[in-house]
Structures are given as C-alpha cells and as structure tokens.
Amino acid sequence: MRKHNLYHTLIFCLIASIVISCGSENQPSSELQESEKTSENKDNHSIEVEIVEKDFEFMPPSPIQIASILKKANMNYEEGLTNKVSNSKQYSTKFKQTINFGVYACDLAYCVTNDKFAEASEYLKVSKEMASKIGLESIFLSDNLVERFEKNVGNQDSVMSILFDIQIMTDDYIQDNELTDLSVIYFTGAWVEGMNIGTHTILGNNDHKISVLLSEQMTIARSLIRGLRAVENQSDDLIDLTDHIEEVVDAYHNLWSVKQEGENIEYLDVELKHEEAISISEMILELREEITM
C-alpha cells in the first residue's frame, strides 16, 4: 500500500512539473520575438517601440478643475442640472458612451464639490458603468475605488482625493494605451456639461462672474474643435457634434462684447451683456441636449 502511494506521488509530481514547464514556455513566445527585434536598440538607449507620435497635442483642464471653477464662481448647487443616471441605458454607441462618460465625470465632480455625496455616489457608479463600456474598466477596478468612496462619504477631502486618484489613473491609462482620441471625446463631454451647468445659472442670475466663467471656458473651444477634427475615426455623430460646437463658438466670437476686445480676447476675461449670455446659453443647452439625449 505504501509502495502504491509512492508511485502515485511520483506520477503526480511528474505531471505537475510538465504542466508548469509547458505553461511557462507557451506564454511569452510572442514577447520573446519582440524583444529580439528591439534588444539592440535597448542596449544603445535608443528605444524603438510602437509608440505613436501625435502631431497635435492638447492638454485640456480636467473635469475636476471645471467643477472647481463653477464652485469658485459662487454657483450654488442646483438640483436637476446634471444628466440623469437613468439616461445611461440609452447610450448604445461607443461615441455616446464616451462623451457621456465625460458628462458624468463632470457631474460627479460637481456633486462632490457641493457636498452632495448621495448623488455623487450614484454618479461614481454610472461613471464606472460607462468606463467599462468604453474599455476603461480597469481604472475603477483598481484600489477598491468604489468601496473607498463609500467609506469616506461625508468627508469632502477624502472623497476629492479619490476623485484625483481616478483622474490620475485615467490619464495614465489613456497615455499607456494611446487612447488620446477617446480622451478628446470624453473631455468634450465634460466641457459641454460644465458650460451647461454654468449657463443654467446665467439664465436665472445676472452675476458677472458667471459671464466671465463662460469666457474662460470658451478659450479652449477652438482647441477642442481641432482635437475632435484630428480624431482618426470620424463617425457621423462626431462630425455633427464638432460642427455644432463650431457653430456655438463662432456665434460667441461674433458677439459685440467679444468682438470689441479684438486680439485682447486671448488675454482677458470678457464680460458679456445679459442678452448675449442668454443667446449663447440657449445654444449651449441645445448642444448639451444633443449629446445626452
């Protein structure tokens, strides 16, 4: 009996060794080929790798910064301004999912900066859902972000720090995986949402700070348009959206208050007349409806 057991054990050890060695040999074969191709360059400190170089590079402000601008402009939280979480189910194309990932990212930051943690928690979940649809799921899976968020509800500093972690991981993931096109579209969503929240407040409030806020946001519009036009896969949805943004931006630059500043517009905050702000606000609301409906 003891001899029989010994045979079993020996046979098992042999099989286990074969399984392990086969597994480890199969796994990196393609990678080995790649390293052979590049090993010479590595020794010379000349890295010949498959990193794509872009002709146009633009670093937009983060959704968190957009939300903090709204906060600094003394804009109180208004219920119903953000995109409904339930709308997420109707975004079936990757374009809609990507742009609304940006919209929700801005809404999430807007809720957190205004201590609306219950709402923020919902926006974090929907952001995670959108992220998984557009290939960014690993960001939300790492570091138990959702759990950490829920544990810290009520503590703005801790929650903000989690939002920054998400931002950093998103930036890293986008750069490591060369997803610049995706980031331009998602940032456009955050930008439109920031303008939407700002303009809603303008319609009921004549505060000059909010008018200035609009002019701050418009500064980057041309760069966004350039970024959107540079996206490799130009779908009809994307072309329509870019044209629509261009229409809004042209209308803004044709306003009397903007025109009279001439070249100085690049360096100054422009205070719009109330009726000018309203006409631009209406265009922005239309734009926002186009992306969230």
């Binding site: 050890c13 597994g23 990678e31 390293s35 360059n41 790798v49 590079e57 402000p61 980057i220 690049e266």
Partner: protein
C-alpha cells in the same frame, strides 16, 4: 489524500526555478518602457505639490536628421498660478530645449515666456506667475513703441496689460538633429534605427 496532492502541487508550483526565471523575462522592452514612464509620471506629479493636480501629458518624439519642434497646448483657464512640472528622465540621447509662448507657432509676434536648454535626464518646475510678468513687460514695450495711437487708446491698452491673463500656453519641445543610425541583422539586411525620447509634463494649479 487529495489535500496531499494539492500541497505537493503548490510546493512544485512555487519553487519551480524555471517558472520564477520566466517571470523576469516576460516583459518586452516596450512594456519595460511603459513601466519606467509610469514611474517618471509619478515623480513628475509629486513635484506639483502643494499645487492641485490637473493633468499630465507624455510627448514622444523621434530624433531626425534636422532640428524640429513639437508643440503642446495647455489650458490655464483659471485666474490662478499654475505650476508646470517637467520630467525628462525618458530622454537618454541628445538633450532637447523647451520654449514656452503665449501663442502658437503660426504667430510671428508671439512672446517667449520661458526658455531652457539641455533638457535630458532631469526634472524641474516653472510657474505661470513669472510668465505673466514677462508677458506684461513684453506688451508694455510693444505699446511704448507705438507712436500712431491716441492718448486715450494708450491708457486703455495699459489697463488691459495690467489685467492680462494667460489662458493658454504653447510649449515647444525643440528636438535637435541626430545622425542617422543603421543596424545590420544576421542575414546582412540593413535597416534604420529610430532613436526616440519621451518628455512628461504635469500641470497643477494653486487651489487657495
């Protein structure tokens, strides 16, 4: 009995030397590079403190047989001081230069706000506060040279200069030329070696 086999399997699995060694060779140079860049980005972000992180951008470039520049645009939309943190640890070949302007390349009257040379294997920061002062100075000098404007227009322009802001920055990475390199493989085929580098920029803003 089954427990004994599982125990044995785990022992073999953990101590199999070929498996351990394999773990080390799994990374390709490309993957190694990405990990390195991730570390550099982390350091670059750390250098922003106590400013609040806003974003980062890694610019990859290839050395060519002539000098050329790559332009990166950043938005500094808040009326705040911004800190730019550069990490050039991803440049191990010829050092590059950095020039920061208020306008893009196509404008001949753009103002040079910051300049540095010998950028390779190092880290440094700069802030927009100093750049705004430079811009104000350049604009004041430009205004002083104008003789065909009325006094009221001059006063108006002076007022604008006093309140000037930098809403965008255009960072130019100037990449020097590099001799063309070639390699010959075992079969005697000659191919060009592309020499690349990467520079990381992180941006943060004063949140007070």
């Amino acid at each position: 009995m089954i427990g004994k086999y599982i125990f044995l399997f785990l022992i073999i699995f953990n101590f199999n030397p070929s498996f351990e060694a394999q773990k080390e060779v799994e990374l390709t140079p490309y993957q190694e590079r990405l990990i390195q860049l991730k570390d550099f980005r982390k350091n670059c972000r750390m250098a922003l403190r106590p400013f609040r992180y806003d974003g980062s951008l890694t610019t990859h470039f290839t050395y060519k047989e002539f000098d050329y520049s790559k332009e990166v645009e950043i938005a500094t939309i808040q009326n705040e001081n911004y800190r730019l943190s550069f990490n050039s640890m991803g440049i191990s070949h010829e050092p590059i230069s950095i020039k920061i302007y208020d306008k893009p390349k196509k404008f001949i009257n753009r103002v040079l706000l910051y300049e540095t040379t010998d950028v390779a294997s190092n880290e440094f920061t700069t802030e927009t506060k100093e750049m705004i002062e430079k811009l104000k100075k350049a604009k004041s000098e430009e205004l002083a040279k104008k003789v065909d404007i009325s006094e009221s227009e001059r006063l108006y322009q002076q007022k604008i200069i006093e309140n000037i802001r930098l809403k965008k920055l255009f960072i130019n990475y100037i990449i020097p030329y590099s001799e063309r390199g070639y390699k010959i493989d075992e079969e005697g085929n000659e191919s060009r070696v592309l020499t690349k580098g990467s520079i990381i920029l992180a941006v943060g803003y004063n949140n007070l």
